[in-house]
């Protein structure tokens, strides 16, 4: 445990927004290195940092406290900070296909990475990953949503594709069959809301997350993708994307 009160200040850019981070551990900066962090002697704006309470909760859950922990915990604070810029960090894999972004959303362990891996194996020249676990989504004034890379790539570290406009969201679940069903924004609301990173402490933040969720759902269609196995469920996902691109929703 680092008990030093010294903080390490860096400025960086995420989805076109300039952010200032205050780290407890200098090594935390390496996890965000791809976002051109520049050290600052003092914060030029309200910095994003992890509170002692968050570290304490993290330790109470059986985790260690180190630079990687700080990097992980910064995710929800960064997401909340981005709310005021109509952005959030969203728990999903963001793939790029035919110049559009498609999200595969679902809780940890449900199979997002398996779907991505299968897409990359079967359509290596068509599919690229914008972010494997937690892209930044921007809700634009014209009602569209852009999906951007973020430092939180997941354990596979998948990233590299450029930002793209969001075309659809697949909410993934495991099941006894393979199926894909379009669902209404109302039906998708609970699942989508749980994907928006926040700490759930403040009523205003909870409300802001709700407003962003609504804008995301109103921007594109959603499907419930039930997967018993790959590649069959992945083929359903691919066919659905193809239908949308060729015939519309």
């Amino acid at each position: 445990m680092n008990n030093s009160s010294k903080q390490f200040i860096y400025r960086g850019e995420l989805s076109g927004v300039s952010l200032v981070f205050s780290f407890r551990y200098p090594e935390t900066a390496k996890y965000l290195a791809a976002f051109n962090l520049i050290p600052e002697s003092s914060p030029s704006m309200d910095p994003i940092s992890v509170s002692q309470q968050e570290f304490d909760d993290w330790v109470a859950a059986g985790n260690g406290t180190d630079a990687f922990a700080e990097f992980c915990l910064l995710c929800q604070q960064t997401s909340q900070h981005l709310f005021s810029s109509n952005r959030c960090v969203f728990h999903a894999a963001a793939i790029r296909w035919r110049d559009k972004a498609w999200l595969i959303a679902g809780g940890s362990g449900v199979g997002k990475s398996t779907q991505c891996r299968t897409l990359l194996e079967h359509w290596p020249n068509e599919v690229a990953i914008i972010n494997g676990d937690k892209p930044v989504l921007e809700c634009r004034e014209n009602g569209s949503v852009m999906a951007y890379p973020s430092p939180w790539n997941g354990k596979e570290g998948w990233h590299g594709a450029e930002a793209a406009p969001l075309a659809g969201i697949f909410f993934l679940r495991r099941g006894e069959k393979n199926s894909v069903d379009m669902i209404s924004a109302q039906t998708a609301a609970l699942r989508a809301y749980l994907c928006v990173f926040q700490d759930f402490h403040d009523a205003n933040v909870i409300t802001q997350a709700g407003a962003i969720t609504q804008r995301i759902l109103n921007s594109c269609p959603s499907w419930l993708l039930t997967s018993q196995d790959v590649p069959d469920s992945t083929k359903l996902l691919y066919q659905t994307m193809q239908e949308v691109c060729e015939n519309g929703v």
Binding site: Q186, Y193, H201, L217
Partner: protein, 96 residues
């Protein structure tokens, strides 16, 4: 027994889905999010403004020009449901 809304929840309407969200301190006792049917959400909205269940019944009597017994029959199951799950607390419990 009169009930009022327990503090610490935020009711959201996302694309016509009503989601009652628990703030983090309440996660040990409540699910993070409790989806609510429309009528439940209306009752909660009125009660989180400080009205008791009887206040809400009185409002509905005026709104629908309906007898009190009919309003109790229609809405008491909602109040009971919310109370059983802990979202409503007895007014007396909070009195000094």
């Amino acid at each position: 027994m009169a009930y009022k809304a327990r503090p610490g929840f935020v009711l959201l309407n996302i694309c016509d889905a009503h989601l009652l969200v628990a703030t983090r301190p309440l996660w040990a006792e409540f699910p993070r999010i409790r989806p609510l049917p429309n009528a439940w959400a209306v009752c909660w909205t009125l009660m989180e403004k400080g009205n008791t269940d009887q206040d809400v019944i009185n409002m509905f009597m005026r709104l629908f020009n309906a007898p009190e017994a009919a309003m109790h029959k229609r809405f008491d199951p909602i109040f009971s449901g919310l109370a059983e799950e802990g979202y409503l607390i007895p007014v007396e419990e909070d009195a000094p």
